[in-house]
Amino acid sequence: MTVHTRHGDASDGVLAEAVGGRLSRVDGPAKITGAARYAVEQQLEGLLYGALVESTIAAGKVRAIDVTQAEAAPGVVKVLTPDTIMSLRTASDWFGTPPPDKPYCPLARDITFSGQHVAAVIAGTFEQAVAAAALVKVSYDETPAIVDLSDGKAGDGIPIDAMTKEWGDAASAFASAPVRICAAYNTPREYQAPMEPHGLIAHWQGDHLTVWEPSQWLDGMARTYAEWFEVPFENVRLVSPYIGGGFGSKALALSHGAVAAGAARMLGRPVRLVMTRPQTFTGYGGRAATRQTVTIGAGHDGVIQSIVHRGVNETSIDGMWVEPLGSVTSIMYATPNFSSKQNVVRVNSVVPGAMRAPGENPSAFGIESAIDELAYEVGIDPLEIRLRNYAEQDPHAKKAWSTRQLREAFAAGAERFGWARRTPQPRSMRDGNHLIGWGVAAGTYPVRRAYGEARVRILADGSVEVESSSIDMGQGTYTILAQTAAETVGVSADDVVVKLGDSRFPRAGVTGGSRLAGVMTGAVYKAATSALDQLVGLAISDPRSPFHALQANTLVVANGRIASPRGEGPDVSIAELLKSVGRDQIEATGDTMPANSTAEDRYKNYTTIAMSLPHTEGDYSRHSWCAHFVEVRVDEDFGTVRVSRVVSALDSGRLYNPKLAESQWKGGIIMGIGQALLEEGIVDRRHGRIVNDNLADYLVPTNADIPDIEVISVGIPDLHSSALGGKGVGELAIVGIAPAIANAVFHATGKRVRDLPITLEKLI
């Protein structure tokens, strides 16, 4: 891809194109003009099209699949069933745990959820495949399904001991506390709903597989494909230059990918398979439904003495997903006594997956609602009670915070919002038919750190090229890496071309957990520094260099030109220098791996999540923080809630590009508004199936639902968190929005809604 035009502004004093500048997304023009080519838009000779057939029952067995009619349908090349698709090997999980040595079949005989892939049709055109898929007749032996967490058959679930966090004696401290509150908070199944549905083109050439597929993790997915098909990792190439939204859902190779790649292998032709919109609700997991109880024991002064927290999330019958519900509960407030435990309950659904801030998001809904309840119970302002219980260090890890600008966030947000003008009583603010409520909640997200690689080339024309197998799903990787390379080498960002999304490039781990910017700016900085060193080294020492006679120790590169620091002697462009020394490029690869890393370490680092560094490693506990202030207007007669104002102050450390960070934060806030007010997968209990599996019925916010959102950065560089001082950005801002809205709704109406979403019938 080529990426050029930019429109930054230097309003904060930093040059737009340097690190920290407000450079606009360099991939924007390509996306707006349609020039950006997404995965399944590749044109390939001999391309076949696949369509999936999914189970219509939630539990049982496939008795028989009648493919006669489908096979006879026009254009059909092959109908695949569990009996006829090629056998694959089971792949390792994302920790790299060696898999059981058994075959893997991406089409199911044993049905554990509605929407499971049971067959697939491969045909000459998309329309032929879809039409023939409707002719595949599947009969089942149905058994009773466990529909969801509230199903009588669901039971208490499996205790996840690794989630237990305890200190002090929480139970007895709670029993003897003068003020006690206890409440249950529920969040429903929520879905990532990316604009670009999942899909791929798989193409085999001999034992080499190329997959064009939107991906948040090329190297991890390449590993899975390699293991499924028992070919060397190097034989699999994943290509994903653009991703139309992922939100956590595009990090893993999924069974539809196995079906397409298997079909391509069997038929010796490239196969394209794209999920329908309904399939994006059943073919992979959204956010697990959760339940939490939060009990807080406190003094009359609102100071917390004990927190007891119990959480449960859904997982599938044969998969394991743990949504860490105690993650915020255990660090947000200082408490001498604490206990958090979690169970996971198996239900007949697809295995849930990652969705923006898995764990922290529902966790914050529990604790940030509960502390609001405590505030009213003891009659203390909800902001004040948060400050009274401020955690000066990580209460769980018992380590100092690397940086925690949360107090500053509360202060800046409150000031800008005008919090001091709030009247404390519920139902005390109104405008005609609208009850007005103001709510506050905090959020946090850990700094996840890992290692990355990058290649930087200085080309003959003086331009710079950056390559990395990391990806840009809209968060701005292209842009910040261009800024990093531009600043490090000393050229304009216009003269940097960033190439991402090809697993042939130097490797990167998963783009998830808000880690990529910190990892990749570090790697590009390293590679660019070493390219610059080579350039300067050549200029000083090559006999053909115009600087040779100068006998300088060093030279500076700025705006694409090389000169001595004091300005004496020649002043030439990079292109002129390279020409004079007879080089057509300089190339350097840099990585942030520990020096003694083996090839095995590298493979493990980039293809699993086993090597990411704990956020509490060493002496510090590293997190991003935020405080949200929200105004809602609730129509008293209709129960409709509209968010009319949001001010959020956020600490993501140093911002590599404030414009992009603000956009990520606002996106998180918008998604949080959807979560609070609209989003819910509604299950038909008789069929064990979500019925609102489309974007007309699964509501995400429209522009009309979103007010003006003001975000304020209160971060300071945090060098314990990343090489250049940034902390996480992408997931932080959604954390805490739903409780801030629920708290505002309580302030407006006097009704505490503990089940998301807050729909009108809960308030009417």
């Binding site: 007669d637 609209l678 019925v691 509501l699």
Partner: protein, 327 residues
């Protein structure tokens, strides 16, 4: 693959004749039909495209009323200056419907003919029982997810809600559907599900909606469409009301009142009981609220849609009071 033929009609008359053949369907903006074809509900053998026909897209507003051609686009009608001034409820019902893109494509005829959003109706591969789709197959919605289903006008065969907005305003103002020469009150054009939920409109094979006619009235001139929904935009009504009001010269006594409900019934629902209770009375909040409760007389809920019974009268009351400037 399911083949079908596509026929570009040369005139309204040719379209009507072509569409009379079994398996043929008219194609206007396609925003309902193509959607339903994709989910396997509509399976036409022939699509008779009328979207380009001239003359059927006219909007004429005169002293006696408005006549809107079946092919006029929702967006054009919503923006039409005379519709806005003489029939504000009609314009408001339209601009609050769907999205700007859909309103640019969708026609008035197609809008009247849009089908229910019942999720079971729209998903034949997962839910085989649906009397509206397949007479006699049963109703998947009853006992299932019913949050969006009707509380008024339902039968044991079908509880699907009529989702459109425009027709609610039309019913309130006694609009007339033109099926070529035949004329029908909009209220009679829409059928209750009864035993035959598959039959939604009193339109016969070989007939086509050619226009709608809305008689002028003082109530239509002072009218509004209030739509309450979960999402602020691009969303069907949880409950809505089209209301028109005419006051006596004293400025307080109600001479004429029109009330129709959307989002709660199996067809656009004229609430005559509310009208009758208030006509001749002085417009004041308590009386309006009390009378508005009559809007849901006889309503039956199916659990999750109970809120509609509470909500609808409040929407009606708010709309009446807003028109009376008493809200």
């Amino acid at each position: 693959m399911r083949d079908f033929s596509y026929l570009r009609a040369t005139s309204a008359e040719a379209a009507r004749q072509a569409a009379a053949l079994p398996g043929a369907m008219l194609l206007a903006g396609g925003t309902t039909l193509i959607d339903l074809a994709k989910c396997g509900v509509a399976q036409p053998d022939t699509l008779v495209d009328i979207s380009h026909l001239k003359g059927l897209d006219r909007i004429e507003v005169g002293e006696r009323g408005a006549t809107i051609g079946a092919l006029a686009r929702m967006g054009h009608v919503a923006d039409h200056a005379d519709i806005k001034s003489r029939f504000p409820a009609v314009s408001e019902a339209l601009w609050q419907a769907a999205s700007a893109q859909i309103r640019n494509m969708a026609t008035i005829g197609g809008n009247l003919m849009q089908r229910t959003r019942c999720p079971y109706f729209r998903d034949p591969s997962n839910f085989s029982a649906c009397n509206k789709r397949e007479p006699g197959s049963g109703c998947s919605a009853i006992g299932g997810v019913t949050r969006g289903h009707a509380v008024l006008g339902a039968s044991e065969a079908c509880i699907a809600m009529y989702p459109g907005d425009l027709a609610v305003a039309l019913v309130a103002f006694d609009a007339i559907v033109h099926l070529g020469e035949r004329r029908l009150l909009v209220d009679d054009f829409f059928l209750l599900p009864g035993e035959t939920p598959d039959r939604e409109h009193a339109i016969e094979p070989g007939e086509m909606v050619t226009a709608i006619e809305i008689p002028s009235s003082a109530a239509a001139r002072r009218s509004t469409y209030l739509k309450v929904r979960d999402r602020q935009s691009y969303e069907f009504a949880a409950a809505s009301a089209a209301v028109g009001l005419e006051l006596e010269a004293d400025g307080r006594t109600i001479r004429d009142l029109r009330v129709a409900l959307g989002g709660v019934a199996t067809k656009p629902w004229r609430a005559r009981a509310v009208e009758d209770a208030l006509k001749g009375k002085v417009l004041e909040p308590d009386a309006v609220r009390a009378a508005s409760l009559l809007a849901v007389e006889g309503a039956v809920d199916h659990g999750a849609n109970h809120y509609k019974i509470e909500l609808a009268p409040r929407v009606v009351a708010r709309a009446i009071l807003k028109l009376g400037d008493a809200a």
